[in-house]
Symmetry: C2
Subunit: 189 residues, 2 copies
């Protein structure tokens, strides 16, 4: 790909993410092209269908998520970095869910379409989790499958809570379940 | 409604819930009638459309949920009752989600259709929460909106986790976030 084509593609992806975030995934490709400052023909050269565009937005997002997790895994305070990363992911999961839902509606299996990026996220998140556990910031009985499912659940919970303050408390409550103190209650009858 | 009509209706609802739980909400009304041991004509007299049946199943379920929460609110160990209630609700949320999704697909707004039952659940759950908090079993900064959203999120998380042992640990982790010890970690930098 030539340098200007690469730039256009990146600009279209950024614009698409912003437009879908603001207007939902039903926003038109015309709006995306306009927001990116390119013609609709340029958009269609890069993304022949809207599904192609949605899929590319989704995959780019996963790649960024993996990159962030990898960088945070070498933070000085990896425990704090772990919790901030999760809170950030949950807070901005709305667009990701909307894009995934739109792809599912179009009959596209999101997990298959983004299998490589999904693996990247798993690896990076697994490393971040392991280091946060080694630092004593996360209870030891949490595995990667639990963490991945927890992220999905927390995102859906936040989606369900309308008020901003409820969302914030909710994320705090859910993430607190991951802390070592949370698992240390007396389970005896 | 005559006594035998009432019995048939109750039998149809039970059968519908069992059939939808086992085969998903796409199971046919014929299957439900067969499982209830009544003719399809009887089913249609009580529930003219499949959506009517799905809606009735959903509302009956919410009523049972409210009833259970009300009863548990006067348990001796209300803290334990609270956590067991939530774990039970999350574990059996699959059918409820499937029915709600099927109704949404049919263009029926589940929340509006079950507004009365939803209020009943809110009230009962609010009472159970308050008593569990007064007993010191649940952190004081959890409100009813957080709890309701948490239930939705936990159900979606469990749906996402394929393996049975992951599900069990996951529910434990999410519910542990509600315990008083979970909120007591050091938040200073």
């Amino acid at each position: 790909m030539r340098a200007d084509a690469r730039r256009n593609r990146a600009r279209l992806l950024d614009a698409a993410e912003a437009v879908f975030a603001a207007k939902g995934s039903s926003a038109s490709t015309e709006e995306v092209a306009r927001a990116a400052g390119v013609g609709i023909g340029t958009l269609f050269r890069h993304f022949p269908t809207k599904e192609n565009l949605l899929e590319a937005v989704y995959r780019a997002r996963l790649r960024r998520m993996a990159e962030a997790a990898r960088q945070l895994a070498s933070s000085d305070d990896v425990g704090q970095a772990f919790f901030e990363f999760l809170a950030e992911q949950v807070a901005h999961s709305g667009t990701k869910i909307a894009v995934a839902d739109a792809l599912a509606e179009a009959g596209i299996d999101v997990r298959t379409a983004s299998a490589d990026e999904g693996r990247e996220v798993s690896e990076a998140l697994g490393m971040l989790l392991e280091r946060a556990q080694r630092a004593g910031a996360v209870r030891p009985d949490v595995g990667l499958p639990e963490l991945m499912a927890l992220l999905v659940g927390a995102s859906r919970a936040v989606e369900h809570a309308a008020a901003e303050d409820v969302r914030a408390r909710l994320v705090g409550i859910i993430l607190d379940g991951l802390r070592p103190t949370a698992g240390s209650h007396d389970r005896s009858p």
